[in-house]
Amino acid sequence: MLFQPAIIALLMAAGVAVLMLTAAAPFAVQVILRWDIRSGSEQQLALERRTYLFSTLLSFVFVIQLAALLLFVFNADRLSGMFVGAMCAVGTLNVNDYGFPSLISQMGVFFLAAMWLAINHVDTRAPDYPLVRIKYGLLLLLLPVLVLSFWLELQYFLGLKANVITSCCGSLFSGDAKTIAGEASGMEAQPAIFLFYSGLTAATGLALWHWRRGSRRSGYLLAAASAAGFVAAIIGVLSFISLYIYEHPHHHCPFCILKPEYDYQGYWLYLPLFTATAAGLGAGALQPFARVRSLASVIPGVSARLAGISALGYSLFIAIATYFVLASKLILIEH
């Protein structure tokens, strides 16, 4: 393992998160078994008080998870100097088999956490906490995902050996590569642009629709469109946006745009995109509970607000991406 401060920080953060969630698990079981809002017993009171602690703990864990995701990519990019052949985060993540799974699992944890936080938020707004059992049930489901993510990260960092020859982003994100990333980046610019704009316009449109006239159906559709929009956005970044930013027709890397050489332009793209997707998914996660009586007045407002954030994020993302393409001197499509 590389004895490096950022790695120690990441492992510490992930370890503390797992510990906190593990500490919450017995309590979650207790809530699922014993929760009775109508009872005035000592035990029920204690449970109610504890829910405050655990929802604060979890919000903290998930905020840290988001920060850790950023630090993980940032650090991977920085470490690329240590590996033969690595020139950006891709090379570092490719040093062993755990790099990309670790990144993807962390992104997964981030989006699941966002959905959980949305549910938690509406639940605390209702006087009778109608979702408390479901919430803590979901928490128990989230725990193994978090543990998996920690394990992958640990394996990845333990397996980092500075003398490994890895492949740089040029060989992974090239059109000939037989990987999903290769397929996505090998897509011709024109269909990719079409897919990108139609996917993201659909997501923005649905978000706007749900914002103005929230209904359960539009909420589900928004969640689906957010997930699809995220994929379309990543395909767009791989197949043409990055090309325009690098002003190079064959450089597809989604990580090099985070580098200082390109003025950290990637952060302008990814931050709105991740926020918008998390908000859209969160809005969708609320919909199954829209019929619960005490939430009927809470959920439409919250999910409309989430949809508003999502619409704003996606529009910002489209605008910034379009600006990067227009400001670029690269000509990818002759007309």
Binding site: F3, P5, G81
Partner: protein, 381 residues
């Protein structure tokens, strides 16, 4: 149309207002925590800034060195390059220039230090004269025009006139350097004619360096190519490793700070308890109290972080980091004097955040909750 965020923002603004006023009411207690917190940030930030500056310096210095250095090995030991060896390499595509270098070490009993002697072509250094590094010049009290004599390894005495002292700008590289002419070098060390110490190759395209190294190793199996990027990587990991070691040593301090934060947050005074009781009696919810306390933690964290970081910046870049210098910089008799180029880097700030604000917040969460669930009647009685 639903309003996006303003009532929420309004509420947080009032909470912050209240928190600031309440922090002001308990100045001494919070000041103690703030000082400890800022001190921790200061120590960790000094460490991060200093290693980062050293790393940048190393990159800077190595940028001018040749891409590949070729050494000949005999029985696993570095040996001289025999005559004709340079021609054996032949023409390798991509190599711009190849030259044999002559250098060696000389132990000077006067200052108990090793000098690096290096031969330069006659047009740069005339026979009978030398150019010396600034650190060496300081140690021996030399200036341009002085004459200095060295006793060679064979026992003969050689006198050289100092033509000039090398510019202090290059001191990191030239601290112990003595530049002599090739003829003087061979005479002083009785170096066999036609032999060289090693070979330096310059390669224009950085992507070609590894291929060229592979070709060299194939053409000359008894040689060892050393790549500049490898040296750079070694430096990076050495500094990372040193930083990691100091950090591990300091983890005790972080832990102590966590305990202090926990203690401070859980040891609520009677007055604070009363305050929370009154707040709850006038309609604050548990969630509101938690939010207020979190704002308090955030404000303290940010103030401490800012104070500590600015302090560290001044410590490292104005005073040369006297606290960490002995551990991180390494040691030599003729240690170059150099000023660090100020560089702040986002990754380091983020990492620092994880080492300070993260443990602090994790430590105060439970005490905050304990305070927030206090029953109003229990404290106001």
């Amino acid at each position: 149309m639903p309003n996006l965020a303003s009532p929420w923002l309004e509420k947080q603004r009032h909470l912050i207002d209240f928190t600031l006023a309440s922090l002001g009411r308990r100045k001494t207690k919070n000041l103690g925590l703030l000082v400890a917190y800022a001190l921790l940030v200061f120590v960790l930030a000094s460490l991060a800034l200093f290693t980062n500056a050293l790393r940048t310096e190393a990159t800077f210095v190595l940028a001018g060195s040749p891409e590949v250095i070729l050494q000949r090995m005999v029985a696993g030991r570095h040996d001289l390059i025999p005559p004709g060896y340079l021609d054996k390499i032949g023409r390798i595509r991509g190599v711009q220039k190849k030259e044999g270098r002559l250098w060696g070490y000389y132990y000077d009993p006067v200052v108990n230090a090793n000098y690096t002697f290096m031969a330069r072509p006659a047009e740069e250094v005339a026979s009978g004269t030398i150019m010396v590094g600034a650190t060496l010049a300081r140690a021996r009290g030399l200036a341009a025009g002085n004459v200095i004599s060295f006793r060679s390894y064979s026992g003969k005495l050689f006198a050289f006139k100092v033509a000039s002292v090398l510019s202090p700008d290059s001191e990191l590289l030239s601290a112990d350097l003595v530049l002599v002419s090739e003829a003087d070098f061979r005479a002083f060390f009785e170096y066999p004619a036609g032999h060289y110490t090693d070979i330096a190759l310059s390669v224009a395209n950085p992507l070609e360096v590894r291929n060229i190294a592979a070709k060299l190793a194939e053409a000359l199996p008894d040689s060892r190519p050393i790549l500049r990027e490898e040296v750079l990587r070694t430096y990076q990991s050495v500094f990372d490793w040193r930083e990691g070691i100091v950090l591990t040593v300091l983890s005790g301090a972080i832990l102590a700070f966590v305990i202090l934060a926990w203690e401070k947050a859980s040891g609520l005074s009677a007055e604070e308890k009363r305050e929370i009781g009154i707040l709850k009696a006038i309609g604050w919810e548990t969630g509101d109290v938690i939010r207020m306390k979190l704002w308090e933690g955030l404000l303290i964290s940010l103030t401490a972080f800012l104070l500590g970081f600015v302090g560290a910046y001044i410590h490292v870049f104005h005073f040369g980091a006297p606290i960490f210098e002995p551990v991180l910089k390494g040691w030599a008799v003729l240690y170059p004097r150099f000023t660090l180029v100020p560089a702040v880097d986002g990754l380091q700030i983020a990492t620092l955040f994880f080492f300070t604000v993260f443990p602090y917040t994790a430590a105060v969460l439970v005490p905050i909750w304990r305070a927030a669930i206090t029953d109003p009647d229990a404290v106001m009685r």
